[in-house]
């Protein structure tokens, strides 16, 4: 017993700072946040009166919050769909060695190194639905202007200024920014498929489609899962980009739980802000915990 304690004692000691920091800043704060969400602290004045799950039921009954959840769903679906399509397409084209491959890869990935706040500046302009009336008709700007001048005027739209689909416009810059990341994941996945496997399939007379259907796609599914988890949880947390593109945090059209939590915080409604935080945590945990469990099991095998 003593000997065992001696061998793993130092390990635990070295990990101690991390265990304490993560224990306090992650787990204890999650509990504390949950506690605050059960109180009636709706103003800056401290209050510790417990109201049970009243804040949650009120939030879930609030049409604004319902709308923010609906927006979050649309955002996540469009964001995921877009990044997977572009990411896979780019990786698929670049998978075979080609001249200038490195250049294309670097360009597709570059938006990833820029902050949402910086890219939001330009996307705010691109996704502008403003029209200035001038002699000679209405004048648009940003992407609408570009679409008009290349003969695709029919595609002009209000972008994010739409209560139902506006949030999908926010997914456009998010897709622009993260497709390169998904491409990099898929490229790594392609590289992990042994050449012998493809050769064997080709010798067996597999058509290209069957080769993909039965050999390549199954091999890529773990990568695909990683991509879905990473993009999915980024989408649930997305905040910066919306703040950068839409000046007013309380804009109904693009409200998501993360921005609504900010609005509540600014308004000193700490209990509601904490409740929204907990709801977001539950949403993320539903996705991430099975994933972590799955990866740790895969590792054991």
């Amino acid at each position: 017993m003593l000997k065992r304690a001696k061998t793993w004692g130092p390990s635990v000691l070295l990990l101690a700072p991390t265990i304490i920091l993560v224990g306090v800043f992650v787990y204890w704060l999650i509990i504390e946040n949950f506690r605050v969400s059960l109180t009636n602290q709706h103003t800056a004045k401290p209050s510790n009166k417990y109201v049970g799950f009243e804040n949650y039921t009120n939030l879930l009954a609030d049409p604004n919050f319902q709308h923010s959840l609906w927006n979050l769903l649309i955002l996540t679906v469009v964001f995921l769909g877009g990044t997977l399509i572009f990411g896979f397409l780019w990786a698929w084209i670049l998978e075979q060695p080609a001249k200038g491959e490195g250049f294309f890869r670097s360009v597709y990935l570059f938006p990833m190194s820029v902050s949402f706040i910086a890219s939001g500046v330009v996307w705010r302009w691109l996704l502008s639905s403003l029209q200035t009336s001038q002699p000679g008709g209405e004048r648009t700007t940003g992407l609408n202007r570009l679409l008009d001048s290349v003969g695709l005027g029919a595609l002009q739209n209000d972008w994010w200024s739409n209560p139902t689909w506006g949030i999908a416009a926010i997914a456009v810059p998010a897709i622009w920014q993260l497709s390169g990341y998904v491409m990099a994941l898929f490229l790594a996945g392609f590289r992990g498929i042994p050449d012998e496997l493809r050769e064997a399939a080709r010798i067996d007379g597999c058509t290209e489609w069957k080769l993909y259907r039965h050999v390549i796609f199954p091999q890529l599914s773990p990568v695909m899962l990683s991509a879905v988890i990473i993009i999915g949880h980024m989408s649930l947390k997305l905040f910066d980009l919306i703040r950068a593109i839409v000046p007013d945090a309380n804009t109904y059209d693009v409200q998501v739980p993360a921005t609504m939590m900010w609005v509540k915080y600014i308004g000193s409604d700490y209990a509601d802000a904490a409740a929204i935080g907990t709801i977001l945590l539950v949403l993320v945990a539903l996705v991430v915990i099975p994933y972590l469990w799955y990866t740790s099991r895969m590792e054991k095998r």
Partner: protein, 297 residues
């Protein structure tokens, strides 16, 4: 398909063979042209926002008309750049002061953790690792309210000091993950040999692990540098325009209903320069960090 059947039927006729060969080369050539056309089309799409940033940042009143929105400036004005620089300069200095120490400290913590969790495992080490890892995925909104309280209770001043603490603490999970994956490739025999020589956990770290850690540190430092530089969420909750990092200053410059687009686009470019330089010079390691974000590496 048609080519293949023709080919089988007339195997003997070499003229036919040559014709089909030529057909195949043309097909390949068309494929290749199509491929590059697609690749270049996507390059234009991806770079379009960068083009807009660049041209708009040099525009003055002469180019204010929306009809000129997508054209190069008629008059190249630097007024936007001057305004952006004077607005952002103080916050740029603060961001460097924030990002460099927090990247260094969290990567050291991550290195120690990764080492212990891959080479000196103890009962329950894997559970601890998964618990640490979960900290990487939590939406920070779920801890923000009590966190603001905790940071002020600890007496850490608003602005750079609080943000430094937060970037270190919440950077630990990803740094630990990257180093744990990285050290998994260090042969256990090296550790065993050091143990046989009577080296303890720290001596082994210093003599065996640290000397081979450089690539791991590059990946982690770049990752932490970039994510701390680009952070806005913590900055919004824990700092103000007066004491905050560049993302906050930029959001004030670009925010509001009436935006000076030349200045805010110049500001966006200025704020992105450091991370872009890192990406261009050390892209390989940057991608390495991205990959480890997918847990399995």
């Amino acid at each position: 398909m048609a080519t293949a059947t023709v080919n089988n039927k007339n195997r003997a006729r070499s003229a036919q063979d040559m014709a089909s060969d030529a057909k195949r080369t043309t097909k390949r050539r068309i494929n290749r042209t199509l491929k590059y056309a697609l690749l270049i089309f996507f390059v234009i799409m991806v770079l379009l926002p960068a083009y807009v940033l660049f041209i708009t940042s040099f525009k003055g009143t002469a180019d204010a008309d929306p009809s000129r929105a997508w054209y190069l400036p008629q008059v190249w004005e630097t007024g936007g750049w001057v305004k952006a620089w004077t607005t952002l300069a103080p916050s740029l200095g603060r961001t460097v002061m924030l990002v460099v120490p927090s990247a260094i400290i969290s990567s050291f913590l991550g290195s120690i953790n990764g080492y212990v969790l891959s080479k000196w495992k103890f009962p329950g080490a894997n559970i601890i690792f998964t618990l640490i890892l979960f900290g990487m995925f939590i939406p920070y909104q779920a801890v923000m309210i009590p966190l603001t309280q905790l940071v002020s209770d600890l007496g850490v001043p608003q602005g750079i000091p609080s943000l430094m603490l937060l970037h270190i603490v919440y950077g630990i999970p990803i740094c630990t993950l990257i180093f744990r994956n990285y050290y998994a490739s260090v042969p256990d025999e090296l550790i065993e040999a050091a143990r046989m020589d009577g080296a303890g956990i720290l001596r082994t770290y210093g003599s065996v692990i640290l000397p081979v850690s450089a690539p791991g540190f590059v990946v982690v430092l770049i990752w932490q540098f970039t994510s701390a530089w680009n952070d806005y969420l913590f900055a919004a909750f824990f700092s103000s325009g007066r004491n905050g990092p560049v993302t906050i200053a930029l959001s004030f410059l670009a925010g509001g209903q009436l935006t000076d687009y030349a200045a805010s686009m110049a500001g966006a470019l200025i704020a992105s320069v450091p991370t872009l330089i890192v990406y261009i010079l050390l892209g390989k390691y940057f991608v390495g960090g991205l990959m480890s974000g997918s847990v399995k590496g």
